[in-house]
């Protein structure tokens, strides 16, 4: 059994163990005149605070609190557990009160965004890595050319770099050849393509249609060019493909980072509402606990 499988089984075992412990304690607590919602509520709040602490842990890397990987896996296990606790805490019904509805909606949004983040963090990196391998049958060089993994923060730099390369090719073509075809093609079709990230949604869903359409235009243009210009167009096509790959990386990495804009900020809102919920519950418990 590979270490990955072992780790996976350890995680499954951890989740099952945590769930079992909670269900056992909840079951024991139910044998009391205290409301079991108090128990599940406290466990849920503690779990949410622990989940939120992962963000704090990432801001304090210098404190030896365990590896980030361990935190992440525990974050995932506890996160799954909160679904169970939440369902039990709400007695499998959505609240009807305004405040509690907002609170429940906040939790569900945070939790579902977490599941979404987990899914894309499992899928998108693989797609990014396999981009070159799946689309090309060439060797290592092809993979480097078309499946290059880039740092997200550097993408604007590379985009500028590719645009400059393309512009150099077009200018050289214009100097060496009397034909304005490539320059016009660049001005009409490629200038905007290189200026910004393009085809965001199509890249996220993994569609190659925009590139195919652009390549079709290259084919149309090619028939009107001389041999020298065709060589330039071939180079330009390579730059366009590199830009397309860069956009692909940008789109997927942007999604990989942007889901946290829902997950993290709403967690703080959830904590504020959860604490106020606790105050209301204790103040209006009517003597029960």
């Amino acid at each position: 059994m590979s270490s990955l499988s072992v780790r996976r089984w350890v995680h499954v075992f951890s989740f099952v163990s945590l769930s079992s412990i909670f269900l056992y304690l909840y079951g024991r607590y139910a044998y009391s005149l205290d409301r079991s919602q108090f128990f599940s509520g406290w466990v849920l709040l503690t779990a949410i605070v622990f989940l939120a602490a992962y963000n704090v842990r990432k801001k304090l890397p210098f404190i030896p609190l365990g590896s980030s990987a361990t935190w992440l896996q525990t974050h995932l296990n506890v996160g799954w557990l909160t679904f169970l606790i939440f369902a039990i805490h709400l007695d499998l019904r959505f609240p009807t009160g305004a405040f509690e509805s907002v609170l429940a909606a906040l939790y569900l949004t945070v939790a579902v965004s977490g599941v979404f983040g987990l899914c894309i963090s499992r899928i998108f990196p693989r797609r990014l890595s396999q981009r070159g391998r799946d689309s090309l049958s060439g060797g290592e060089e092809d993979r480097r050319r078309h499946g290059e993994e880039v740092i997200f923060e550097r993408i604007p730099v590379y985009r500028r770099q590719l645009r400059e390369w393309a512009e150099v090719l077009v200018l050289e073509s214009a100097k060496e050849s009397a034909s304005p075809t490539i320059a016009a093609f660049y001005r009409d079709r490629l200038h905007c393509f290189f200026a910004f990230p393009r085809n965001f949604v199509m890249h996220v869903i993994g569609s190659g249609r925009p590139l195919h359409l652009l390549m079709a235009e290259f084919t149309v243009v090619r028939r009107y060019l001389s041999d020298a210009d065709r060589a330039t167009l071939d180079k330009l096509e390579q730059v366009v493909r590199a830009k397309n790959d860069l956009d692909y990386s940008y789109s997927l990495q942007f999604v990989l980072k942007s889901w946290l804009f829902v997950h993290v900020p709403l967690t703080y809102g959830l904590l504020v509402f959860a604490v106020f919920h606790g105050v209301l519950v204790y103040a209006f418990a009517g003597g029960s606990r």
Binding site: V150, E153, V157, A283, F284, G286
Partner: protein, 694 residues
Amino acid sequence: MSERLQQYDHDKSSYERPPQHWMCGWSSCGRPCYGGPDARGRCVAVAECSPVRRGDKWACTRLEARGGFCSPGPMPDGSCSQSIPKCQPVLSLRGKRGVSARWVSAVALGALFFLVPSPQGQKFISPGDISSKHGSLALSCGNCHSVFQEGPTGWFRAAFDPPPKKDDSARCVSCHDLGKNSGRPHSIEPQRISLIQERAGKRKALIGEAKLDARTASAHSLPCSACHSEHRGRHFDLRSMDDRRCQSCHMASFAGFGRDHPDFSTFPYVRRTPLIFDHVSHLGKHFQEGEFKSRAPSECKDCHLPDPSGSYMLSRNFSRTCAACHLGQILGEGRAGAKGVAVFSVPGLDAETLRKEGFDPGRWPRDAEGELTPFMRFLLSGNPAFRRAEEMLKDTDLLDLAKATPEERKAAEELAWSVKEILFDFLGKGHPAMKARMEAALGRRMSDAEAAALSGQMPLGVLRAAQEAWFPRLAAEMARRHAASAGEDGRKAAQKEEEETSRGPSADEAMSAFGGWYLQDFAVYYRPGGHTDTFLRAWLDLSAGAGAQGILDRVLAVLAGPKAPGYCAKCHSIDAAEGVFRVNWAGKQPEVNLHDFNRYKHAPHFSLLDERGCVTCHRLNRRAEYLEAFKGRDPARFVSNFLPMGKKDCASCHATGKARDNCLTCHNYHVGKVAPALVSAPMKMPDSKSNAGP
């Protein structure tokens, strides 16, 4: 294109710091400066490198990643010639996320600060609709939650208060009256729980004792909200409760009724039946006899029908059940002795010996030989002279006073005149005289209705006939006796009294004749007029209420004896309760709103029965000494006509996956009187304004 976009060499690649909050403003153009902004987001870039002096020259130090050495090189003064234009630093993704988090937190807090104290705040924080039965309370949280009036700051304080301080149960019980023990377990006093545990005996371990121990239960007060959860929707059943709530005190956990619940012991028979009816002898013997066979009921429902709630099977009334066979018995048909009960009588007295010895009992019937009836003893007990005489004569044979002492003879004379006095009194004053004597005997006032029932509305004619038969010259004798004790004025008054008495009482019309009274020999008898005879019932109630040691014990003995006229006690059992007796005139009658620990509804089960019908559960116990239990007065000492039911009788259906088997299916939590919510409405005429009609 074979050139790679990304270089990782130390001099060809800058070090990215995604956690930093600020980025160079030129990043979006793809030309970020090397140093980037400072931690506060200020642009600190000046030039692309910091030239170094090598010998007498300044050398460029620009990184290869930034283009390497620049061709102009440093300025003569050693400054870089490639200055960097100032930028407006932008937030990194991490920075933007941080700002978003702060905004969301601020919005959440702001929403609470503005919404909660607002007029809509109450609706906002409400956790959901309250049940429709409490719908009228939904106007304000303060109707149920006392802390609501204190406002948000008060709520924060209250959240940290101990639970008893926040107990709002008083507001619940202001409508739902559960008595003074409403907050205690099962709404009953702790002593009763102790008693239950004692009775549980061996089963105590199964019931559990930790939290309901009487020693600690008195300190426990359970708020209503411990079990009843509001704000669960309009149609939520506030009485629904998880079995585990019960098991929090009843420590022995039951996984299911059919599996772990203790078996029943004597269920459902917890006391003897109020009405004495031996099912075994009736079904096995009387209903089979030819004379009664045609009148006997053929089905259980001929005698038992469910009450309106469907819970209890009640006995139908006398006329629909017992009367067919027993009415004549009550009337005295076939009775060998007297068909009625002697109420007034002339006791046997050795009057000749008294006269010989110088005493004056007056005229006394020679053939009288009975004893004073218990009724007369009671009516005379208000007379101190009679009581002394009775005490003196308790061991004396009144029919032979030859060997009696002078004191006993004097007492016998007093007794004789007491008997004449009461008869004379009744003849002269009628029922008011009887009422006065009963009040004197009881030492308390008596209502006219009670006196009327106890007098049996005795007709004067019977008394007058008795007087003429027993004491023909009663008026003259009484006048003479009164005169002798009252002097000359008394004699005149006595003469007047004799004249008036001879004319008969003036209240004849007020004492209309009722059937049932008759004269026989030297006693006036009352013969029961049928079932629910008022006279017998009144005297039985009075004598039973006086208890075993009262002055009416002999009356009770006469009326409740096995062969007593009317045979009341043949069917109506008499229970001892707190020193007195109580006659059970009716079978079990469910008291409205009175909850017991157990509950059962007969009606829903009828359709489940096969041809055995009621016998499916109520199996006759042929060996039961049913009637033996009624010789005593303790209703708890009994033998049922039926075999106790077993758990299996119920568990065949009430099991997991079949019919309900939770605790509250068969048990009530609140025990005792659970009164409905009532308001206090003052009894006064509304004023004209508030009662303005059309």
